[in-house]
Symmetry: C2
Amino acid sequence: MRYAAIGGGKRVRPLLVTATASMYGVARQTAVKAGCAVEAIHVYSLIHDDLPCMDDDDLRHGKPTLHKAYDEATAVLAGDALHALAFEILSMPETVSDPFVRAELIATLAGASGMGGMAGGQMMDMVAAEKNYDLRAITRLQQLKTGALLTAAVEMGAILGRVPVDSRNHLRNYARDVGLAFQIADDLLDHEGDEAKAGKALRKDDEKGKQTFVTLMGADKARDQAHALVEQAVGHLAPHGREADLLRALARFIVERDR
Amino acid sequence: MRYAAIGGGKRVRPLLVTATASMYGVARQTAVKAGCAVEAIHVYSLIHDDLPCMDDDDLRHGKPTLHKAYDEATAVLAGDALHALAFEILSMPETVSDPFVRAELIATLAGASGMGGMAGGQMMDMVAAEKNYDLRAITRLQQLKTGALLTAAVEMGAILGRVPVDSRNHLRNYARDVGLAFQIADDLLDHEGDEAKAGKALRKDDEKGKQTFVTLMGADKARDQAHALVEQAVGHLAPHGREADLLRALARFIVERDR
C-alpha cells in the first residue's frame, strides 16, 4: 500500500479537495484527510488498472508497478485494502465530527468509485479496442473513468464547506470541464510525450488501436479543445474572487503539465 | 456482479444482520439493506480470492467462477464495483435515515474489509504455505479473513438496533465464537466433505501443505472444538429470551451444515 501510494503522483485530486475546501474556510487538516481518502481511491484504481489482466503496465511513476515489484496477489489485495481505507478514513469521527457530512462524503466517493464511476469506466475501457467508440462514447467513458473522481474531489471540498447541494452546480461544471481537459491532455501526452518524464509506457493505446480524443480529433484540435475547456472551467468560477485562484491555477496546470 | 451475487451462497452474513436486528425491533427492510451491503463485501472477496493469482479456483457454488465464466479483468472490476456498492448502499439516506447510524455502519464494514480485516487475512493466507503457521497464527488469520465480517454483520444488526457500543460485548463474543466454529467447520468440510455438495474444489489446502485447524488439531478434536465453540456462543446469548432463538439456531446450523 505504501509502495504504491507514497513517492509518486501529482496529488491533483487531494489538491482539488483542499483548494475547494479552502474557499469555504474549512480547516486544512480536515480537508487533507478527505484528500487522503480520495487519493487512496485513485491509487487503488491505478494498481488494479496496471494488472496484467487489465492494461498490463510494468512502469508507474518511474518505478516498477506493484505487481512487478511484489506479485499479482499483493497488488490485488493492496488495491482492495486502499479501497477500504478510503471509507475507513471518511467514517472516522476524527476526520469530520458531523455525521451528516461524513455520510455525504462517503456517498460521493462510493458513487465515484463503483459501477457508475471508475469501475464502470474501466470496464468500458477494457472493451474499447473492439468497440471502436466514437467521440461521444469516449467522452462518456472518460467521464466515468477519470471525470467521476475529479468531480467527487471538488464536490467533497464543497461538502466539507457545507455548500448546499443546489449551490454546487458551478463547481460541478468546473470539475466536469477540468476532467475532460485533463483526459485530453493525458491523451496528448500519451501521443507525443516523453516516456522518461511520464514515468510510464506511452503510446499503448495507439498500438492497441484504441480510439482516444487525439485519434478522433487530431492532436491540434484536441489541444485547442483542452485549452477551450480550461477557459470554460475557469469561467464557471466567475462568482468567486481571489479565493478561487488556486482552482484556476490548477485548471491551467492540468493542460500545461508535461507528465 | 449479478452472476457472482445471485443464485448461490448460504446468505449467512445477511442472516446474522437481520437476526440480530430483529432482536431489537429494527424494521426488516432496513436490516435487509444493511445485509445486502455485507453480502456485497462477501461476494467481492470471493471473486477476488478465486482469481488465478490468489487461490486459483474454477468452481464456486457449483458453477464456473467469474473469471472462468467471463475473464479476469471482469472479475477484478466486478469485485471492485461490489466493494464500492456496499458503501453506496450504506451511505444512502433511504437505507437508514439517521446519519450517525449510517456512519457507524460504514466504519464497521470498512474496518472488516480492509487491511485490519479481510484483505489482511487473505494476505496472511497467501503466504500461509511457506510460513507454516501454528494454531495461534491460524486463529489470527481466520479471525481476520472470516471472523471480521461475521462479527461486523452481528455488530451492524446491533448498531441498527441502537445498542450502545459497551452493551454489544456479548454479541461480539457470540460472533467471535461463531466465526471460529464456522472456519473449523469449513476446514472439516474441506478435509472430508463432498465436492458436489460443496460446489467447489476441496482438499486444496492439504495439497498445498497449508496448515488448517484440522491439520493442526486432527479432525476429531477439531469437531469437538467447533461444537464447544457453538455452545459457548449460545451461552453468550443467555441475557436474551426467545428473541435470540434465530441467532442460536444459526450458530448450530453453522457446524451442522454439509456445504
